[in-house]
Symmetry: C2
Subunit: 213 residues, 2 copies
């Protein structure tokens, strides 16, 4: 029952971009940052529900497959679910569409809880106001024998890293310089202590760095 | 006659550390950051003048060898020479000892010029108050058919990058998080534009990223 996290980063450590506009709700920088991931076959099948065999099948896709393998429950921030987009709409069901790519319980950390949302594929979003420790205890209960994935955003992953709760951190570094946005590595001096760190370079140029303990 | 630069970075993009003390003039963080480079055979022979065959001979060493290959002149900041350490000592000859590992002219950018210093192995330090463009013009003249290396520190390399003057940037990323220090990537949004970027991982775990145009 490992606790795992994955993030996309730029070379300058930006994990959350800040150039969103009403016309481009995710932002141009975000699109450039996650392009190698959203190009994978796993993303296109599992998240976009395309069934045409499109998408890359190399090293990036191997990591994308692993995002969901063996996971029994996920913890994510309110922004990852989409709560900040339409905070006043009680019927808003999040970014993830009617077939969210989870199939297991997802705890959404928020200061404004709402009733759970359940989907036929086994995904159930539950909204909680909790510390990382409390959320992890509940997720362990929900996950059974499965792993727990900290799904992001960057500030949620950092909270769990700072609390020493993450067994495996994988960052996919896209070799671009964004120069603005929220940086993952702030306040994580000596993060590598107690971890083995290994890296490999994908065909796309993305550098996959994994911290394991 | 390419213009080249090499820097050691932490995962969080720190190129210049700030934990120097009177007891540890380079700082603990600096030692951790450059440990894979200072472990190479090339560094130990060329910079430390050890002749016992010690040092690593893998991918890190291949990059270390390339630092000096084909270079005809170097440009460095005052801090890299050592001017800030003993600013009031006119006889101070810098960090690099009596056999500096260059063997070619080195322009040291400083607001406090002093007479040149010449060594028997062909290294000649000249002190200049100049813009990046002006320094590059003089270095081209001094370098003959050789390349020009921007030797650092981070702020000098960044000045040349921002002015669009660097043909090849190599960063050796040590997989540690320093959390404090001067960051290379600040103000370099879209740096990758016009460059091919490639990466490889050394036996030591260092990630070598090269921007080429």
């Amino acid at each position: 029952m490992a606790v795992r996290a994955d993030l996309n980063l730029s070379l300058d450590g930006v994990a959350a971009t800040t150039d969103q506009t009403p016309e481009n709700m995710f932002g141009e920088d975000w699109g450039r940052l996650v392009a190698p991931y959203t190009a994978t076959r796993t993303f296109r099948e599992r998240v976009m529900h395309e069934e045409n065999g499109a998408g890359t099948t190399g090293i990036d896709d191997r990591y994308a497959q692993a995002y969901f393998e063996g996971v029994g429950a996920e913890i994510m921030g309110a922004g990852m679910f989409g709560l900040h987009a339409f905070p006043d709409d009680p019927d808003w069901r999040g970014w993830w569409g009617e077939e969210p790519p989870f199939g297991f319980p997802v705890l959404v950390l928020t200061h404004a809880p709402r009733p759970p949302i359940e989907f036929p594929n086994g995904t159930r979003f539950e909204f909680r106001t909790m510390s990382p420790d409390e959320a992890l205890a509940e997720a362990r209960h929900l996950a059974g024998d499965g792993d727990i994935r900290i799904g992001g955003g960057a500030s949620v992953v950092r909270d769990f890293l700072r609390a020493g709760l993450v067994d495996r951190l994988h960052v996919a570094i896209t070799p671009i310089v964004l120069g603005r946005g929220h940086h993952l590595w702030d306040d994580l001096h000596w993060l590598e202590d107690g971890y083995d760190v290994s890296s490999e370079v994908a065909e796309s140029g993305v550098i996959h760095v994994t911290f394991r303990r």
